[in-house]
Symmetry: C2
Subunit: 442 residues, 2 copies
């Protein structure tokens, strides 16, 4: 998929010896995609998951920062060190925020500020949890497909990644059960440490885990947690980008506080520039995660934390997310409409999942179409001036076993996003993609 | 020194299995010290290395943020994602800033924005470099004593830490040579990956590596870099806090761009709240470090980066550091004067290194006085209402071998800081410390 670093590079006659971890670290595919976009300014990137430039909370930010600047005492707090675990006032506001999202009192969910760690985006939360649990050779179950940045992180940690089949309603409970059975049969169950589940408008498929599956997935993980505890890492980064229907409760809200690790972010619902996320941990994982974060940075930007606390307290976060949902919904409609207009007329059929939130649409082609980075469709898309994320980045290794699965396999799927583009560019991008598919069929 | 986590905790009848790394992660001693300070509000903490509250750049911050807020385009850049390696405009300004500090044109030092990575404080830079180079069992040479947070980070990485003797002018070149010889004799040279050197007003001793030793230390590392490349990680976090005399060039400035990794921070010279540092890397380490940072957070707070870029461009960073130096110098004088007035009258002798910058003073007692956390002096200091950092935290394991060394050993040394306190509290703190020493002698 991407270049693995040589851990024993010869530099000027001297052997540079990288760590095993560095050796397992791939060049993130997203860097490659960004280079492509930079190299061709007319390129329409349906690949980059950036936030919409026009939807960034400039006014909210002004209204929040002015009073913070005018009050010297508060400005000093923002400019001083914070703590490794994160500002206590912010963590208390995060409890309230989660209470509001779940619609359940915090006390009924054992939701406490003491269980939270504020992180540099939810990516840091995911990395820290992996670092605290995974040794090389340990097994992590993920969706097939799943969030490619975290797949790369798990590879760096040395995890063996095992995919679990999904459909339009998320991870299949039976498939998870079968995967566990199969691992037990092979004697591999003791190596399973974690199940990773991106539960809302999943990156890359846009699929949300159905409400009815949430307690069932949790129950399955708990039942197989026999030869050592297996955690369920719930990534809810896109949770607040719900455009249609009701947004289900988190898997965490069904837990008795023992199994689910819940990671959330403000990069999608507020501003990526603040770079803040948080994680709610079972009690025994708080010290290990805070200990590792002490090594990494002993605390995320306190300035960002003070700004976020202010925005949560004033209600600006919830208000801004409501506006953002309207803007993103229009763009999602533009993409779905453009797909509906352009794709059915092509010589080969395609299908896509209709998401009710988030930033992504997942497109599946029949076996004949090769969507990989080295395949003809990708090349033709570059010619036409449009970029997508090849599905191959999003599947666990051996991604081809997913042929005939509801969400396709590594060779013939792709991810589209409408996040950063205005509606007319979204439409134009889909037209270019359709032209590229047509070009590949002639 | 501190609690090692049990990697196989039994939680409700189920075995929670932490990673080996989490198992090697100690509770940072600083957490313990902060708890002590919180538990007793009248406590004078000569332990915490916080920035002076009254010296935080509130005005500079106001003047920088107002135009950034008023310009919607610039505000949007600050609120959007940045890149993993860090904002290019900021990295170019960092090149100029370093050029100014070194007094040497960037082109003569192979100093380029492409070699830099912007990090969440310099701690993240130190951690990422360690992560890219160190496997469990690899050897890292450090000063004896040295920066305890990084000693903890190295332990988490599984490094074997070997101390090198220091005196008032920093790491001893002969001692470094002897350490390498001894490692070679034992067949351990191939496991040596890195020498860590905190080269300016070192934490914890306040000692600056003498100008004449800089090329010599570098030359020694290069000469022993035979059976695989050995890097020199130069930590220059306190570099801009120079109060007396001239501030030497970095070790990096003597390098032919192959051996030194230079880490710097704005937490000490500007504001810890921005939480930004940076690292200059030899060419072959850029991809590995950026790759790992992609896993950790794919970029530090872009908002902080845009603010810092603005402050660098306007000259505010250099101006603020000049004011800060005056304020800290007065406090350092207050501490040195208080030590001069209070310590010589005690029943037992003590000596301290007179630093010319930074935030720390290192105090050495004769063998009879036990400064450890479980010893009588620490207890008596708690009674008197004053906190220090026991020297034991700052020495590599087997810290007792440093008895009779110029900077003392783990059992009878301590670190004092005047960073966050007003002058009268610094004086009062030293008086309480003297009273505690007297109390231990009766």
């Amino acid at each position: 998929m991407s270049q693995i670093l040589d851990v024993n590079m010869e530099i000027a006659g001297n052997r540079c010896r990288l760590s095993q971890r560095a050796g397992r670290t791939c060049d993130q595919p997203i860097s490659f995609l960004m280079q492509q976009a930079v190299a061709n300014p007319d390129m329409i990137s349906l690949a980059a998951g950036l936030a919409d430039q026009s939807c960034l909370p400039v006014e909210v930010f002004r209204n929040t920062l002015r009073p913070l600047l005018d009050d010297s005492d508060r400005a000093r707090i923002a400019l001083q060190y914070g703590t490794t675990q994160g500002d206590m006032r912010l963590r208390r506001l995060l409890v309230k925020h989660l209470e509001h999202l779940e619609g359940i009192p915090a006390c009924e969910m054992a939701l406490e500020a003491e269980r939270m760690v504020v992180t540099t985006g939810s990516q840091q939360a995911l990395q820290l949890v992996g670092d605290a649990l995974i040794d090389p050779g340990d097994i992590v179950l993920v969706g097939a497909p799943d969030y490619f940045v975290y797949l790369g992180t798990l590879e760096t940690l040395g995890a063996e990644i095992v995919g679990v089949a999904m459909d339009e309603e998320g991870m299949l409970v039976d498939a998870l059960e079968d995967t566990f059975s199969e691992l037990q049969r092979k004697g591999d169950l003791p190596r399973v440490k974690m199940v990773y589940c991106d539960s809302y408008y999943q990156n890359p498929t846009g699929v949300t885990l159905h409400e009815s599956r949430r307690p069932a997935i949790l129950d399955t993980v708990k039942r197989w947690s026999r030869e050592g505890k297996i955690y369920l890492l719930e990534d809810a980064a896109y949770r607040e980008l719900c455009y249609e229907g009701s947004c289900p409760r988190s898997i965490r809200s069904y837990d008795d506080d023992s199994t689910v690790i819940l990671a959330q972010s403000f990069s999608k619902s507020l501003s990526p520039g603040l770079k803040l996320g948080y994680v709610v941990l079972p009690p025994e994982l708080v010290d290990p995660v805070v200990g590792l974060k002490g090594n990494h940075d002993f605390g995320s930007s306190n300035l960002s934390q003070q700004i976020l606390a202010q925005m949560l307290e004033s209600g600006a976060v919830v208000e801004h997310a409501a506006e953002l949902r309207q803007a993103y919904q229009r763009k999602q409609m533009a993409m779905l409409n453009a797909l509906g207009e352009n794709m059915p007329n092509l010589p080969i059929p395609s299908r896509w999942v209709r998401p009710t939130g988030g930033l992504y649409v997942w497109l599946c082609f029949p076996e004949g179409i090769d969507t990989t980075r080295s395949g003809p469709l990708y090349r033709e898309c570059l010619n036409q001036g449009v970029l997508y994320v090849p599905g191959e980045f999003c599947f666990p290794p051996e991604g081809n076993q997913w042929v005939d699965h509801p969400l396709g396999c590594a060779q013939n799927t792709l991810r589209l996003t409408f996040g950063a583009l205005p509606e007319d560019r979204v439409e134009q991008g889909v037209q270019r993609l359709a032209a590229a598919v047509r070009g590949c069929c002639t």
